[in-house]
Amino acid sequence: MVTTDSIRRSSARIAQMPSFALSVLWFLIHLVISIFFIVLGIADAVENYLISSGFLKRYDAINVGKLRYLAIVVDSEDAMQINKALKLLQWLTDIGVKHVCLYDSEGVLKKSKEIILERLSCAKLYEEGDEKSVLDSKTMIIEFTSQSDGKEALVRAANLLLKRLRSLGENQEEKIFTEAQMTEALKAVGSGGPEPDLLLVYGPARCHLGFPAWRLRYTEIVHMGPLDSMKYGSLLKSIYNFTLVRQNYGK
């Protein structure tokens, strides 16, 4: 019969277990988890096939108009595979997404923007005010961002506000800038794009990798896995799931 004394004795014995045994157990747990993810990957591949082939009817008519602005975060090493990025953008055009912001922290995609825009027949570069423009059914607006549009942009905006403060004279010690003024300053330094509704992360982990913080407040963040294994079905499913989300915005 199990008693509290016997548990205490077991606890003392376990304390003497060599750390090698704990390491083996740790390794085994991680092995089981890796196998679980492999099985999950196979299930995802099957679902992707069903979605791409049109067997799952609910993905046929997606209300893509609800997705006003999509952001894609790519790990900078993966971003060097420009062909993958082009394929992803082509899929987005086919789905009907109108505004896309591409981000990778080192600006690999930004450096290749001419190539990308050239190879996509119906894409144009984002300019301020584009978020309000009405586009024809084929055109997609693409914005290219990197870490210089994130924290560094906030620093530039802060320096712009500082400059304005100095130009106003000496009695500005009590001046407190508001969020609205910060937004305007970010626009003035060229980092004032709109806030994405949905952010898809192509990389090993679900983190935004420094995407401009000012634009992430209520953005849905979805992890898509590495860019290497990107799938059309997963993309369609993520956009479909987004159209079902309802936000309270804190209320």
Binding site: L22, E179, C207, H208, L209, K251
Partner: protein, 296 residues
């Protein structure tokens, strides 16, 4: 390994009343046994987890208290109370595991837009729970916890602000564990506040050094230094309960390399297994995240 050496202490008076009958004593003994077993298994599991890297800082978005109350047909206030109990459990697990910093998103500036009765209820609950935390024998004592209230505290009523400041002063000497409670907080407010402070500091510096022709500009470290969250390192993990997949204006500056986890359980339903799963997944991605953090 050290985690198992500390014995599980279950105080029998927490489970058994002194005037029990024979039958009740049997049930009581069973409860004690069950608690010991639970404690032992938890320590065993944590010892295994400790073979790999343990996150230094976990941030929680405690979402789902109202939905929990609705689901269980409770009064709304009871949902938040259940959320507090859940928080204490999770704090216990995290500090036992070896996590040093925990940040919780208790009240957003946007939450002031809720019904005034609900806002007042939350403020009253906060003051009550702060007093509980400062009592002898509370979790603050148990883990030598330092409390920080992070946010635009000027937006709070004087009662709540006074309670928060008292708690910060009373625990200022503690250093073993840190709990950061984000209240009247949004990330955008934090960033604007940091920019304003950096500008003010720079402006005063310039006035003192008038003879210098080129006046220094603000750098990224000037802003970092004035963030409310500068008292802690960036979080290793962000966990948002109730399955929502957004940060809702929480730690946007600090979470570039912090994976976001969204267990579907509502906050009062969050359990040790969610924590264990998140830590295991964090360990799987640790090498990649460390590489990213170290890049310039």
């Amino acid at each position: 390994m050290f985690l198992i050496r500390k014995p599980c202490q279950i105080h029998s008076n927490q489970l058994c009343a002194p005037d029990n009958t024979m039958e009740k004593e049997g049930i009581c003994k069973f409860k004690q046994l069950f608690s010991y077993l639970g404690c032992f298994l938890r320590k065993f599991m944590f010892s295994i987890l400790s073979v790999g890297p343990i996150p230094d800082h976990i941030a929680f978005i405690m979402d789902g208290n109202r939905r929990f109350a609705k689901k269980r047909h409770l009064l709304e206030g009871d949902g938040h109370k259940a959320g507090y109990e859940s928080l204490i459990s999770i704090l216990n697990y995290c500090y036992q595991l070896g996590v040093k910093y925990i940040t919780v998103y208790a009240f957003s500036i946007e939450n002031f837009k809720r019904q005034p009765e609900e806002v007042q209820l939350l403020m009253d609950l906060m003051v009550e729970k702060i007093e509980d935390l400062l009592r002898n024998g509370s979790i603050v004592d148990k883990y030598g916890m330092r409390l920080y209230f992070v946010g635009n505290l000027g937006l709070l009523s004087s009662t709540v602000r006074a309670a928060a400041e008292k708690a910060m002063q009373a625990t200022a000497h503690n250093s073993r564990a840190v709990l950061l409670i984000c209240v009247a907080y949004t990330s955008s407010d934090e960033m604007v506040h940091a920019v304003n402070q950096a500008i003010r500091k720079n402006e005063f510096d310039s006035v003192e050094e008038e003879h210098i022709e080129k006046v220094p500009m603000i750098k990224i470290n000037d802003i970092k230094r004035h963030m409310y969250m500068s008292v802690a390192p960036d979080p290793d993990i962000v966990i948002r309960s109730s399955g929502e997949t957004r940060l809702s204006n929480f730690l946007l500056w600090q979470t570039a390399y912090s994976p976001l986890y969204s267990p579907t359980a509502l906050w009062p339903e969050i359990s040790i297994w969610h924590l264990i799963w998140v830590v295991l997944d964090f360990q799987r991605n640790y090498a990649y995240l460390q590489k990213k953090r170290k890049q310039p």
